[in-house]
């Protein structure tokens, strides 16, 4: 198991945002977390990448308990994340944003940079433009490209389709598939359940801080309850 989360609880102040979530992500998989706003999807990702402290439970990565490891070291260990709202550095150029992804790396970057530009030709065109002036879709590309530059073993994607036009959404999901094909494990949080489930090997359904269901992606797609709740109910 590449990534294992064991019964984690997370609190904001006294409010429990996550009340005992366990999930597993195997090497090479695409795993989705779906659920309504406020179900705890984003918090789960932030907990994995070390942005939120655990109240209890364990995060195991590559066989090592990383529950107490600071966030920046988790990046070095191989957890990359494209955060919710993209988190693009507005005052940095596209290139600088991508280089930030390679912040901890000491090896040669050129090949990886070229690969990102190949995945996102749009970014190559706008190398020297400031991140803050890019459109939503372009920012999403920066965020994903930047996360790839950390050379992650597992890539955490938080709502990559948010605010994007349908055309772009399809494109982003294609790219996620491609990234996965090239050997990166993906843990995906999505509102757009339909698309996400189609893509995923497995998925977990979250509700008010708990896992209520887990199954292979296509299976959930046909689950009447899931359809009712997240897919428009018909």
């Amino acid at each position: 198991m590449l990534l294992e989360i064991k019964d984690i609880h997370v609190h904001y102040g006294k409010i429990a945002a996550i009340k005992g979530i366990s999930l597993e992500v195997d090497e090479g998989e695409i795993v989705s977390l779906i659920g309504a706003n406020g179900a705890g999807k984003t918090t789960t990702l932030k907990t994995i990448s070390g942005l939120r402290p655990l109240t209890s439970g364990k995060v195991v990565f590559n066989g090592e308990d990383i529950s107490k490891m600071p966030g920046h070291k988790r990046v070095m260990a191989g957890i990359g994340q494209s955060p919710e709202g993209r988190g693009v550095f507005p005052g940095m150029t596209v290139q600088e944003n991508l280089l930030m992804g390679a912040y901890t790396r000491k090896d040669a970057l050129d090949a990886d940079l070229a690969e990102v530009y190949e995945l996102f030709p749009r970014l190559a065109e706008r190398k020297n433009q400031f991140g803050g002036t890019m459109s939503g879709g372009e920012q999403q590309m920066i965020a994903i490209g930047r996360a790839l530059m950390t050379k992650p073993k597992v890539l955490l994607l938080d709502e990559p389709s948010m605010g994007l036009a349908p055309m772009l959404i399809a494109q982003i999901f294609e790219i996620i598939k491609e990234i996965n094909k090239r050997g990166t494990t993906v843990l995906l949080v999505e509102q757009n359940a339909q698309q996400a489930l189609k893509l995923s090997d497995r998925a977990y359904v979250l509700e008010t801080g708990r896992v209520v269901k887990s199954a292979p992606g296509p299976a959930l797609l046909d689950d009447p309850q899931v359809r009712a709740a997240y897919l428009g109910g018909h």
Partner: protein, 387 residues
């Protein structure tokens, strides 16, 4: 990385905190007569506080009653006033001393130049302070917290320097022979003895506390609390935030002005250097050290900050150890204690529960410092705007 919920142990201050919590629980469930008894006790205590028996321990080096008036009483009065601004409305004010100065100068100037009745000059000083609070606040309260801090700091300095350079109000020479408070025939005579001034300042403190508590429990106090917690949400719930922030500024200023008036009447002589920036910082430190927003805490903080350095002058064994007057070290110690206290008990000695919670979440109305892990507050408007 230590989580919010994960608490360290072996911190003696925490045990004190538990004790305080116990007292607070008792207080919340206390019967009316029990509370009355406590109020009565507090008042009786305050009345007999100047007794020489207490003074010989509290202040062996200087006259206890005088010390009770200045710095202790004056600091408490100022701290209660600043608490309205910082603790209740959550606005950072680094120039509070300006209002203290305005109150003091108005008593001194109108008393000596025009021979106004003392009480009239105090009242006028309070009004003047409130007006300057509004004048300062109106253009600046729209600024963000830190800008407000530096602008208020600048205002404090402007007032002091202007007083220093304006001959009409004595310039650097200050104003001498400020009249004492007018006697109240048959009741009290204000001369050079400190006792009447102590009771005067005590009455002022009591009145200001009543004022402050009543505000806190009213619509006004609720509005301030709402502004402190989430200014945008407050505005959207119909709170005219700007008006209420201005009100907090004006009320804080009035209390500062009152303190200045009383001070000038006792001191007989005031000069611009009586009102340095460091006094603003000290009062702010008192408010925060005591526990911003919680009156007993603020009073305790002001008392400690005013009294400790005085007391420290007279620690004889320290004199022997250091071979120097320990008084010299008191500011050094004061600074060190501030750093230490903030590290060990950032919420202050006696924080209000609400305030402590805010601080623990790192959302105390003024945002957090970029901690390793950012706080849970996300600004909706800005993230929305980015979409």
């Amino acid at each position: 990385m230590k989580g919010n919920g994960v608490t360290g142990n072996a911190n003696p201050l925490r045990r004190v905190g538990a004790l305080v919590d116990g007292a607070r629980d008792w207080w919340e469930h206390a019967k009316a007569w029990q509370r009355y008894l406590v109020y009565l006790g507090a008042v009786v205590f305050a009345l007999i506080l100047p007794a020489p028996a207490i003074g010989s321990f509290m202040s062996p080096g200087a006259d206890w009653t005088s010390v009770l008036i200045y710095p202790i009483g004056t600091y408490i009065l100022l701290a209660v006033g600043l608490n309205v601004v910082v603790g209740q409305a959550g606005l950072l004010d680094l120039g509070f001393v300006a209002f203290f100065a305005i109150g003091g100068y108005s008593v001194a100037y109108f008393g000596t130049q025009y021979g106004w009745n003392y009480w009239a000059t105090v009242a006028f000083g309070i009004i003047l302070a409130a007006v300057s609070g509004v004048i300062l606040g109106a253009p600046t309260l729209r600024l963000r917290g830190d800008y407000l801090a530096i602008v208020t700091l600048g205002f404090g300095e402007i007032v002091r320097i202007t007083a220093n350079n304006t001959d009409e109000i004595g310039g650097a020479r200050g104003i001498t022979n400020v009249p004492h408070p007018t006697d109240i025939p048959g009741v009290v005579e204000f001369g050079l003895l400190p006792a009447p001034y102590y009771y005067l300042i005590l009455i002022a403190i009591v009145l200001v506390i009543i004022f402050s508590v009543r505000l806190q429990k009213s619509r006004v106090g609720r509005a301030w609390a709402a502004i402190r917690e989430d200014e945008d949400a407050a505005e959207l719930m119909g709170v005219p935030t700007f008006k209420f922030k201005l009100l907090a500024f004006a009320i804080g200023a009035m209390i500062g002005g009152l303190a200045g008036g009383i001070y000038a009447g006792k001191a007989v002589f005031i000069e611009p250097n009586t009102f340095p920036f460091i006094l603003s910082a000290t009062i702010l430190a008192a408010v925060v050290l005591g526990g911003a927003g919680n009156l007993p805490g603020v009073i305790l903080g002001a008392f400690v900050i005013a009294w400790l350095p005085e007391r420290f002058r007279e620690v004889n064994w320290l004199k022997d150890v250091l071979d120097r007057d320990p008084a010299e070290y008191r500011i050094l110690l004061f600074g060190g204690v501030l750093v230490l206290m903030m590290a060990l008990r950032p919420e202050g000695l006696l924080p209000s529960r609400r305030r402590r919670a805010e601080l623990h979440e790192g959302t105390g109305g003024m945002g957090t410092m970029g901690a390793e892990v950012a706080g849970p507050d996300t600004d909706v408007t800005t993230t929305e705007a980015a979409k």
